[in-house]
Subunit: 242 residues, 2 copies
Amino acid sequence: MRVRAVVAYDGTDYQGFQRQASAPTVQGTLEAALAQVTGETIGLLPAGRTDTGVHAEGQVIAFDTEWRHPLATLQRALNAVLPPDVAVRDVAAADARFHPRYDARSRRYRYTIYRHPTRSPLVRRTSLHVAAALDLAAMEAAARMLVGWHDFAAFGTPPKGDNTVREVMQATWHSDPPWLFFNIEANAFLYRMVRRIVGTLLQVGLGRMTVAEFQDVLAARGRLQSGPAAPPHGLCLVEVKY
Amino acid sequence: MRVRAVVAYDGTDYQGFQRQASAPTVQGTLEAALAQVTGETIGLLPAGRTDTGVHAEGQVIAFDTEWRHPLATLQRALNAVLPPDVAVRDVAAADARFHPRYDARSRRYRYTIYRHPTRSPLVRRTSLHVAAALDLAAMEAAARMLVGWHDFAAFGTPPKGDNTVREVMQATWHSDPPWLFFNIEANAFLYRMVRRIVGTLLQVGLGRMTVAEFQDVLAARGRLQSGPAAPPHGLCLVEVKY
């Protein structure tokens, strides 16, 4: 039986999602829990590979298992053996051909900024602290330019053999002081694309780049450099849609 | 010069506030930062001592220093050398006789509960996960009984030589799904009082204790036992008023 599961994790203490031989990863942790609970050796398929330090509320995985009890029991058993920073939020039976990456219609990410003169210890793991003034109107104007089909070569590298054209369905800032959220949804993302977009939009907000220059970076399709990538701890994979 | 400072911390990795010889504490961490920045040996006075694992947004401390530069510079220097899980949120000059504990009119705490069928990795350090159904109306009715002057002997022990009578100004539940917050303000609290109140109110919410039995526990002034203390990680010292 193929099972589709929604997984959440605090990425702080992991070297990203993808399994590595000698570093703690989310995939390795999930596969160890699956082995412990089912007694099977299970390799899982993810919707995407999040970077070191990036979080998820709605990562989607699929795996095949001989499990014969209710799926709710599988979920409870997995959550009982998983560490506190990884949890299975939902499980459901899936079509045998379901592939979380190739079948996904879109991914939604949220980047969280904590705007305050001083940093806050209680939110440090899941938000970027920005004390400097930000020109939110400029950041919103630049974000609007991302929507639609564009060549995002300036903002990331594709998997080998793939192109750099992606469709962004949504790219909006939402201010709820002291919080500032960037929500972005696309059919797919290039490597580091969200963090480089956020980092470049922050350059616009800080007055180090104009909206017109942001437009130029996007239009130059990789011949102009984007700004630096924003740090990973503000980023969260919120949802994968099918 | 006596300085009053507001301090925030993530209590997860500390053995409480109060300095200990051989364990990491918030007080020890703050005093080490003060020594590093000022070159002086400074002993600080806190408004109260939070337990192991308890957080603070608004702990208040006072200390004496020979610092001759602007206080904003002192704050920035402290935040530069403090670890990420402790921060100085505000500093101000205070009267030489200011004492954060004896001068406090009231303290306000918040207890955060995450109500959801499954636990969430991203909020695990600052909230208690409760999957079971809770009778919120019963918890609110019981909480209302706490308001006013009462002998809280059932809910905590006082410092040596002190009595167990305290005034609770506010004790309310606020539901904002999936969050449930308990806000309590009192002139002062006994040792573990908030956690034992929350733990007992949860017994009421879970149907293991009636509102009348809760009333009995309060009225018995220590001759009846309260419920167990709720775990520390949901608790946060929000504000100290003067």
